[in-house]
Amino acid sequence: MPIEVNGKSLEVDEEGYLANINDWEPGVADVMSKEDDLTLTDEHWDIINYLREYYEEYQIAPAVRVLTKAVGKKFGKDKGNSKYLYGLFPYGPAKQACRYAGLPKPTGCV
């Protein structure tokens, strides 16, 4: 069941993650967040962009602690915690934010 982004049809898996990470464009996050009734703000985009940068370097989403620390350093100490991230992404930063960012779903005992 593909999603429609800017007139293009992009393949996603059963759980709504992009089948091909190279298909990603900012519109993907817009379309996915609309389906979740979530309006993306600059704060959301900060996280999405960071996830993409990290993935580019390490081929995996950052660990929760790596993410909170980086967010705290970049955007202020009060934001460097899971509470802040769950506030932005209620389904969990690892799962929801990764999906919007076009990253594969973290698997395992998480």
Binding site: I60, A63, V64, Y86, T107, G108, C109
Partner: protein, 501 residues
Amino acid sequence: MAKADFAVPELKEYAEIPVIQPGSMQHSSPFKSKPEFQEALGFPGELAPDWQKQALAKMGDLLGRYRSLRVYLDSCVKCGACTDKCHYYLGTKDPKNMPVARQDLLRKVYRRYFTLAGRLFPQLVGAENLTEEVLDDWYSYYHQCSQCRRCSVFCPYGIDTAEISMAAREIMDSIGVGQKYCNEIIGKVYKIGNNLGLPGPALQDTLEGLEEDVLDDTGVEVKYPLDQEGAEILLVTPSADFFAEPHVDGLIGYGKVFHEAGVSWTLSTHASEAANFGMFIGSYENMRRVALRIREAAIKLKVKRIVFGECGHAWRVAYSFLNTLVGPWDFLDPRYPVPQHICEFTYSLIQQGKLRFDKSQNDDKVLTYHDSCNVARASRMGDKPGGQFEIPRAIIRATCNHFYDMGEETIRDRTFCCGGGGGLLTDDLMEVRVKGAQPRLEALNNVMKEKGVTHMAAICAICKSQFTKVLPYYGMDMDQIVSVHQLVSNAIILTGQDDDE
């Protein structure tokens, strides 16, 4: 509260045995594995036209390999002792989640094809043909069993439903019907070294971050070494310990304990996973292949001891099977158990008075302890019976001032599963996970009300992730679940630590 598109069970003061609701969980079944995930594990990619024949051949093979399986399928007398012991039955009310009914899904096919009475008079002995409907039921209900073995504690014949459920999954895999969650993950272990697919550089980056954090917090340079040849101890821990919360707080704790013990230790990229999902899918070959990585890493790094981190089923595989799976371990130091649990390691240092704690660091919490099923019922710790119950509790008592157990009928060998074990920790099974957590959370809720408990500690990565996810459905807070070594980490006084707090 988390949103649910199903009814979340109520938590009551006294456990109630629910009235049955036939078929209420028939719709629950996990995503199927893609052919590429199947093939990486040596299974066919999809169902073949002669799948019935293949399935029965596999069943025959397993009956020949495991005498226990035949005994379990033969010996049930339908006494009913198990019926109200499964957390999935208690939480879902679906009678096919009664352990006896779950076993019967396989047993009726066994009777039809492998017993004389079933071949001649199928209707008289509850024997049935292997049809597509039966296969669908297998796929649905054998993925509503977390292989926790609580039912087997109460079965007068000791029938182990977990083993039946493992056999059923193995048969399904052998005909191309696998579960996406488990099989994709096992493939990642083969390719990258762990369930998460964390490559070496990401591991290194994460561990360096932890070193910085501990240095900031304490002023002490605690190391989290990776691939350090010649270290004394190889620590094998679930990859969730690198990635998730509260798992990582436990990993920080292990490092502090090793630091205070003054022993050299290392993690390994090659064996960066303690979990062994080969067990969940009942596949001896895959379980062995996953475990072999630990042996290879131990030899390559020339370690003398192997210690396992907080992971429930990993400890079952390690404690009960590691030696026959991938032994002998004659190159390790014989003065120590092979392998050793991190709780045994920490506990023995506490016994020797080698660790100092400031318990007041955990005074913001009132603790209880969740016995993880595979540790409680499938393994042991220390040198005394029941050590797997007493050692983690002794560590909590040594590091916290406030501890209360949950109801006796819900702990130790009678513990309730978290609801997410056995390969069910996936979002596509959220309904069964939430409902299956009900008995455990009912006991937690009671001890919260009666004793003011605020937090529950556990030593299993699956339990920790499962509770983080399901607690909010019950109006509880996701960070009420903590790692045992997180408590150690909070309370331990490191030599040379800043004492400005």
